[in-house]
């Protein structure tokens, strides 16, 4: 109670003083009434002010009181230099905000543990080995039967659970016309209890929900999905929905915090693994395996043990790999099992964005440091102007510590205001950046809570920043020698040296930021201008599914119907869109020879597909209506080079051979130009296209329930036709349904989203860094010209030329800029190897990459130096000397 009242008294100091004074006054009056001489009574008190201070100190906490007084003084000081303070706060806010924003992203994606019991015990199983492309690859997908064997083998050391990759699928709670999208994950029945999760409603899965393939048509909804789809309706339990032609019943809702195991995706619906058609297949890797390792179990032996089980499984499977090259089988079997920490979940977003986010974090930290250097210089310059005030304070008895406190509190004000502004900036920017990660129709769901972690980071950052830019000026101010300061002396060069060093540092950081930004922008530029080989303009892809498999004739009928729609130029059918994220590959054998270890990438397409995609035909012909798969094939130039030594392949034959023996026979009917199939970065892949019309062993046409309708329109914005084409597909033939509409342009751009994001953000921060460094340079030069006015005046009076004056004023600073740029260059070169994997066709040693930041910095330096130099040159010796 006493402590509290003393703290409270700090904040009503004026009232406290008044009360003490009043009490003393009443004492004197009392004494006078009793007949004492008023003057004598007053004198008896001695120094009333000292008495009041003594009483005050008894009633409050002196250090807190001094802190309060200094804070108020600091605030007044800030208000006095409004423009300078605002500039300092804004630049710091940008730095702090950017850092906090980056931290929020990194924390949400990479640092935050899953909301499960003992997340640190979780590991993800992955296999590492030499892949078909000859590079070391890590893959975390597993076949379900392999998982079962490993689970049994490891049961004493760890509990293994299977969790499928989250995928976006169609579900309907009503009729077929009401399909909607939902993110689904197949999970082991044991997952919820292993994670220590409790239902928010109904029940979660148990082991008994995961026994018989296809036997457990139950679903658990995520809390998030339950809230936004059903408005937290408790009657949702027992409702059914249809998905993949099966009916599922909702049995429960998961806990509020749990959104699946993939940061970046919020799972809507959990289904038991046994409901997945791949649950019994040995050749389909569709699950991730998470292991909850029991405390005290060594990881290495466990990984070896799991590796042995996995190898035995694959060896058994490999017995049937008659068509696979020896070397491939060997590489495949030699894969090592790794246990990778999974406390923070496992997702592709994590692996894709770990490095880019780290690079961005470094860039924003550098920007913050540049801003700090600016503010430090500003504070130093202000401290110079206030040297007399400080000297006076020392002379009347202020201690060094008190002066440090005074100046640091001013810095703290700047930092606090900047942090508040920065928090708003981070609050706005982090979700914006998340929304830029994926295309709008498939957004990234990253929870960005502003909780104690973010708050703590912001506070630590604010304190660090305060010390960073405030401590040096504060120590300098406190070390003042009153005698020399009051005489107007003091060594002015010491102060300037500190400022110049900071200018050098700023330039170095600025150079590095610009250099890295330049690399990212060039990467994006080159990647987005990679020729794809086809034309994406005005092309719409309609991902189409049917209720039951439909004959190729029916598919063709739908395509024909769309051709009659106004605004539609061409329609073709393919098994997938080029660059659409779906890939199908196989080994190829020419002349029945054993296949060489090169994979060909495949796609089924209807006649007219190359025309719709504007892929030029180089030789031979396009597919005709009668062509079937197996039978005819189109191949690209790289395929011809790879498998036919670059000869004209038309008329030549090849086999697509299956690992387990057998295969399909094709004759090349046409050669087409190279197009991009899977990625913008890799070299063009050898590709073969087969007719969409496939026949089985008995030459009967195969029915299909999935296809991609490729529509080339004549309108500038094809997406506007999307909903109309959806309806036309349903009208064309009942049972056909479009599940997803994307433009080919959007599909292409999705491959450069990450680079685009990096380039944009890096460029933004590069410009901010340049601006801050320019402002900083201007400030320092302006200060030094002001400080040297007398010297300049004298020199000019003695006949110094304008050029001479300008040179004198700038030479020191410019040599610091030069040194800084060189240091920045070295830093940038050293840093480049950490971001090499993010670059494309750009080298750090590229002269253009080095010249651009150098030019930008020197242009900015010249621009910043111009006003102070003009100011210096225009100094009128008479006025200056007269004013002294």
């Amino acid at each position: 109670m006493s402590l509290w009242s003393r703290i409270a008294n700090v904040f009503r100091g004026d009232r406290l003083s008044r009360e003490i004074d009043e009490e003393l006054q009443s004492h004197i009056e009392e004494a006078t009434e009793q007949g004492r001489d008023p003057a004598e009574a007053r004198r008896a008190f001695g120094a009333a002010l000292q008495l009041r201070e003594e009483s005050r100190d008894a009633k409050l906490i002196p250090w807190l009181d001094s802190l309060r007084a200094d804070a108020i003084f600091g605030w007044r000081q800030l208000k006095k230099n409004k423009v300078a303070s605002a500039a300092a706060i804004l630049s710091l806010a940008l730095g702090i905000g950017a850092c906090t924003g980056a931290f929020r992203l990194i924390d949400a994606l990479l640092l935050r543990p899953l909301p499960v019991a003992a997340p640190e015990q979780l590991y993800a199983l992955a296999r590492q080995g030499v892949g078909p492309e000859g590079k070391l690859e890590t893959f975390d997908g597993w076949a379900y039967p392999a998982f079962q064997l490993m689970r049994a083998a490891a049961k004493d050391q760890a509990e293994l659970v299977a969790i499928s990759y989250s995928d976006r699928t169609d579900v309907t709670y009503g009729s077929d016309q009401e399909f909607e999208k939902a993110y689904r994950q197949y999970v082991s029945g044991r997952m919820f209890s292993s994670f220590g999760l409790r239902p928010a409603l109904g029940r979660l899965f148990t082991e008994s929900d995961d026994v018989k393939p296809g036997g457990h048509p139950y679903a658990v909804l995520s809390y998030d999905y339950w809230a936004h789809r059903f408005g937290k309706d408790s009657k949702v339990i027992g409702r059914t929905f249809r998905m993949d032609k099966s009916l599922y019943q909702i049995v429960g809702v998961g806990p509020e915090s749990f959104t699946g195991t993939e940061p970046g995706t919020t799972t809507d619906i959990f289904i038991p693994t046994m409901m997945h058609p791949g649950a019994v297949r040995r050749d389909s890797t569709w699950i991730r395996t998470l292991a909850r390792v029991k405390p005290g179990v060594a990881l290495e032996p466990l990984a070896v043990k799991l590796g042995a089980v996995s190898r035995a499984f694959e060896e058994d499977r490999a017995k049937s790999f008659t068509n696979m090259p020896e070397k491939e089988i060997e590489n495949y079997l030699n894969q090592k099992v790794l246990l990778e920490p999974a406390a923070r979940g496992v997702s592709d977003l994590q692996s894709d964005y770990r490095r880019p986010l780290a690079a961005l974090a470094v860039l924003v930290a550098l920007v913050l440091l540049i801003a700090c250097a600016n503010v430090a210089n500003l504070m130093t310059a202000q401290a110079a102007a206030r040297a007399r005030e400080m000297a006076l304070r020392v002379s009347i008895g202020a201690g060094r510590a008190r002066l440090v406190q005074l100046v640091l509190l001013e810095s703290a004000w700047l930092a606090l205001l900047a942090a508040a502004l920065g928090a708003a900036f981070a609050g706005w920017s982090a979700p914006l950046i998340v929304s830029m990660i994926n295309p709008p129709d498939n957004p990234v769901h990253l929870l960005l809570p502003a909780d104690w972690r973010v708050l703590g980071f912001g506070l630590v950052l604010t304190v660090a920043v305060t010390l960073l830019f405030g401590l040096a000026p504060a120590l300098r101010a406190s070390a003042i020698k009153p005698v020399s300061a009051l005489k107007g002396g003091e060594d002015p060069h010491a102060r300037r040296r500190l400022m110049h060093a900071l200018v050098g540092l700023q330039t170095a950081f600025c150079f590095m930021v610009l250099f890295v930004a330049g690399l990212f922008v060039a990467t994006f530029e080159r990647l987005s201008h990679q020729p794809t080989g086809f034309s994406a303009d005005r092309v719409l892809t309609l991902e189409t599914v049917t209720e039951s498999p439909q004959s190729p004739d029916n598919w063709e009928q739908v395509a024909e119907h769309l051709r009659g729609v106004s605004g539609v130029e061409k329609v073709a059918i393919a098994s997938s869109a080029l660059l659409g994220g779906w890939s199908w590959n196989n080994f190829i054998s020419v002349n029945r020879a054993p296949p060489k270890g090169v994979l060909a990438y495949l796609l089924s397409a209807s006649p007219g597909w190359i025309d719709a995609m504007r892929i030029p035909l180089i030789a031979g012909r396009d597919f005709r209506a009668g062509d079937t798969c197996p039978g005819s094939a189109l191949v690209n130039q790289t395929f011809a080079k790879e498998f036919f030594n670059g000869e004209n392949p038309v008329g030549k034959q090849f086999d697509m051979v299956f690992d387990e023996g057998g295969g399909l026979h094709f004759e090349v009917v046409g050669l087409v130009r190279d197009v991009r199939y899977r990625s913008m970065r890799e070299p063009i892949l050898p590709q073969a296209y087969f007719p969409f019309n496939a026949v089985d062993d008995k030459s009967a046409l195969r029915a299909r329930d999935y296809g991609m309708l490729i529509v080339r329109t004549s309108v500038a914005n094809p997406l506007a036709m999307g909903s109309m084409l959806r309806r036309e597909v349903v009208r064309a033939r009942p049972g056909f349904r479009v599940t997803n509409v994307r433009t080919q342009t959007e599909i292409n751009e999705s491959h450069t989203l990450r680079e685009c994001l990096l380039a944009r953000l890096a460029l933004f921060f590069g410009l901010v860094a340049l601006l801050l460094a320019g402002v900083g340079l201007y400030g320092v030069l302006d200060y030094s010209v002001l400080q040297r006015r007398r010297e300049i005046g004298i020199r000019m009076a003695l006949g110094a030329q304008a050029g001479d004056v300008a040179r004198r004023v700038t030479v020191e600073v410019f040599s610091m800029v030069l040194a800084g740029a060189l240091a920045g260059l070295a830093l940038g070169m050293a840093a480049v190897r950490y971001i090499e994997s993010l670059l494309y066709q750009v080298k750090a040693t590229d002269p253009a990459m080095l010249a651009l930041p150098a030019l930008a910095i020197f242009a900015a330096a010249l621009l910043a130096a111009l006003p102070p130099v003009i100011h210096a040159v225009q100094t009128d010796p008479l006025t200056v000397l007269r004013s002294e």
């Binding site: 006493s2 009490e23 003393l24 009443s26 004492h27 009392e30 001695g46 003594e54 009483s55």
Partner: protein
């Protein structure tokens, strides 16, 4: 806490004792009361009385209250708290111990 042998210690003791006899006194009355009861021997300095009062108030031994007198002026009246009672007992016994010790020294030397 003041050291047991300091003068401040005895000032605290005197103030507490006076207030235990006569609750609700203002500073001037406390001062004059000490003076009168000590037979005009002890004079409390205004300069030490008020800081001591404010310190004891923050320590919770005494509490103060503003009252408006009939002539419209405000004065601040002090009284002992329960904690102050305990403190008084402690101070008294310590005073007794100290004086007894001093007396012993005076007798034996």
């Amino acid at each position: 806490m003041p050291k047991p042998d300091s003068l401040q210690g005895s000032l605290d003791l005197l103030v507490l004792k006076i207030l235990s006899r006569q609750p609700r006194l203002h500073g001037y009355a406390i001062m004059t009361s000490i003076q009168a009861r000590s037979g005009e021997v002890l004079r409390v300095e205004e300069g030490s009385l008020y800081p001591a009062l404010h310190r004891m108030e923050e320590a919770g031994w005494i509490r103060a209250e503003w009252v408006t007198k009939e002539n419209g002026r405000r004065s601040r009246l002090y009284e002992l708290t329960a904690q102050g009672q305990k403190q008084l007992a402690a101070e008294e016994s310590r005073w007794a111990a100290v004086t007894a010790a001093i007396n012993r020294v005076l007798r034996t030397v």
